[in-house]
Amino acid sequence: MYKYDQYDQQIVDARVEEFRDQVKRRLAGQITEDQFKPLRLMNGLYLQLHAYMLRVAIPYGTLDSRQMRMLATIARKYDRGYGHFTTRQNIQYNWIKLSDAPDILADLATVEMHAIQTSGNCIRNISSDQYAGAAADEVADPRIWAELLRQWSTFHPEFSYLPRKFKIAVIGAEEDRAAMRLHDIGIQLVKRDGVLGGRIYVGGGMGRTPMIAPEIKDFVTADDLLSYVEACLRVYNRYGRRDNIYKARIKILIHEIGADDYRRQVEEEFAHVKSLGLDPPKAEFERITAMFAPPSFVAADTPATPFVSSEVETPASATGVSTALEANGDFQAWRAQNTAAHKQPGYAIVTISLKPTGGIPGDATAEQIDLMADLAERYSFDELRVTHAQNIVLPHVRKADLYAVWQALDAAGLAPANLDLISDIIACPGLDYCSLANARSIPVAQKIATRFADQNRQRDLGELKLKISGCINACGHHHAGHIGILGVDKKGTENYQLLLGGSGAEDTSLAKITGPGFDEDGIVDAVETVTNVYLAKRAEGERFLDTYRRVGMEPFKEALYG
C-alpha cells in the first residue's frame, strides 16, 4: 500500500489548516455561502437534505485497518454511528456539523486520509479495480498509475475550476470491475511488446446523457501519462461548455466535436506539454511501485489462523476446512458466491456484502467497520478495498482461513452470500438523504431484496446486476444495470422507470427504458416480471443480460405492458 512521506503529510496537514481557516471565515461572515460552497465542496462537504454530508476520499478504494478504524471512529465521534460506502469507492457521513468538519479532517490526516476533491468541478478521487494487486487476470497493478494521478490531480492549479466534475478510473485487467468506460477518462493497462502502457478512453459517463467513452489513444507509457492527461484536460478546460451545467461534462464536448477532432487537439497539445517536463522521473514510478509490492504470501498448506475478538471466537482447524465445515451449507454458499480467484495459489479474494436482505445498500455501522478492520489485519495483510458496487473486499485471504473469516462475518450480519446476484443492489441514497433526488431509492432496494430473499431463487437467476438511482444524475448507475431503475417525480409522487440491458463491465452497454414507469410496489412487480421472462427464455448458460441481448426488448415489454 502507498504510505505518505513527509511531503504528502505536509500537504494534507496544510489542507486541514486551510479549511479550518475557510470555515472560520464563513462562520464569521467574511465570505458568503456562494463563495464558500466551492471551497467546502472541494473538501467533500455538501449541504444535504437533513444536514451537512461529508464524503471522505478512499483513493482507488484501498484502505488499511488503521484507516478503516478511523472511519468507524468518525462515525461514532462526529456522526450517528454509521457510514455509507458509495459507488465511487468513498464513504459518506450524513449528519456532520460544519463546525466539526475541520476536526474531522484533522483526525483523518493522522491516518493519511482526507476529503480532498471528493466534490466540486475538479478532478475527483481516482477509482480503480477493487481486486487490484490480487486478481488472477491482472496485467499490472493499476493503483500505481492511480497514485501517480492522485498526486498530479491534487490541487492541480489549472484544473480546479473545470466546466464540471471530472472522474478518472484505472484498471489493470481484461475484466472491467470499475465501469472504466463510463468515466470521463478511463485507463486500461495493457502490455505491448513487453512494455506496459495505458489505453486511454475519454468522454464516458452516466448522468442525464449517458455515453460510453471512445478510445482516444491506444498506448501511453507511464513516462508520458501525466503529460497526456494534462493535454486531455487542457482541451476540455478550454472548450468544455460553461453555458449549461447539463452540457458541461467532457462527454458532451467529445460528442459535439467528435472523437477524431478531440484526439487531434489532444495530440497537438500533448506535443507541446510534453516539452515542459511535467512528468516525474522513472524513479518516482519505481518508488510508488515498491509500495504496492505483493505481500509475503505463505505456502498453501500452512495451518489456519484462529480469529479471536470480543464478539466471536473461532477454533483453529488444521486445514481450515474440515469435514464438519464442509457440511455447513451457508459457508459453502458464501464461499462459492463471494470469493474470487486470487493470483497466488492458496489464496482467495473475499467480498463482504453490505447488502443484507432488507438492509440499506452500502451502509455499515461503526462496529461492523471495526470488525472488517480486525479481519483485514488478521487475515488479509492489513488491506481492505471498497467496491463501486458498495461492498468491501478483503483482497488476500488464505483459503485455509475462509471459514474463520466467514464465521466472524456471519456473526456480525456481514455474510450475505449474494455477490452479483439480484439482491446485491447498487442504490444511491435517494430522497431519504439527498437534496437532488426525486424519489427514494433505498425502500425500493429493500423491497426487491425482500421479494427475492430466497437464496435458491437468487442463485437460479444467476448474475443479475440491479442498480437504482433516485434521480437522473445516476449516482446509482442505473444506466449500467442489467436491470436499472430510475426514480422520477411524477406530479409530486415518486415514480420509477425500468431499464434493461446495461453493463458497466468490459461488455459496456447502456440500458434502455422499457416504457411507462411504475409506482413503488409496481416496480417491484415489474422486476419480478422481467426475471420471469428471462427464466422462460434463457438458453443454457445465459445470464439475464445475455438473454436480453439475444431476444431484445419486445418479450419483456409484452410481459410488462401486455
Binding site: D8, Q10, I11, E17, Q35, Q151, Y161, G277, P281
Partner: protein, 174 residues
Amino acid sequence: MDKCNTPLPLAGGAGGGPVADAPANPADSPSPNPSRKREGDRTEGDEPAVTLDAFLDSQTNATAVRLEAGDDARALLPYLDRIALVEVSFPTFRDGRGYSAARVLREAGYTGELRAQGDVLVDQMPLMKRCGFDSFAPQAEIDPATLEAALTRYENVYQKAADGRVPVWALRHG
C-alpha cells in the same frame, strides 16, 4: 483598494509569498525579451488594455491586451515580445478558462505582467499564481493577511506548473 483598476501586485502589497514574483520560464522556451523589467507597482498609469480582437485587427502596436474568458490565448503567441500586460478576465469565479490562458502564455515564454481581473477570490489566488499570474485586480476587497496566509500555506506542491516551484517528485529524487 476596491475596484478592478487597482491591481494588487503579488510580491508587493501582500507581503510576498515564499516564491519569487517573476515567473519561471520553461528552460527550453526562453523569454523573447528577457531584458525588459516589469514594475511591481504598475497600476493606474497603464494604458487601457485593448480587446483581443482589436489587438489582432488593427492595434498591434498596443502593449496591453485584455483576454475575455472565451478568448484563445494562443492567438497572442506571435506577439508576446511586444506585450507588457495581459489582463485575463474572470467573469465569475467558477469560470476556470483563465487558468489555462495563463499557463499557455507563460509556457510560451511570456514574461510581462499577467493580471487576473474580475471575480477573483482570495482562495483562488494561490492556484492562479501557480499558473503564472503575478498581479490581481479582484472586484471585491481582499484582506492582505488572509492572502498572505493563503500564499504561504503550502510548503510543497505536487505538480510542476508555471511558477517555478519544485514539485515533490523532484524533491524526492534530487
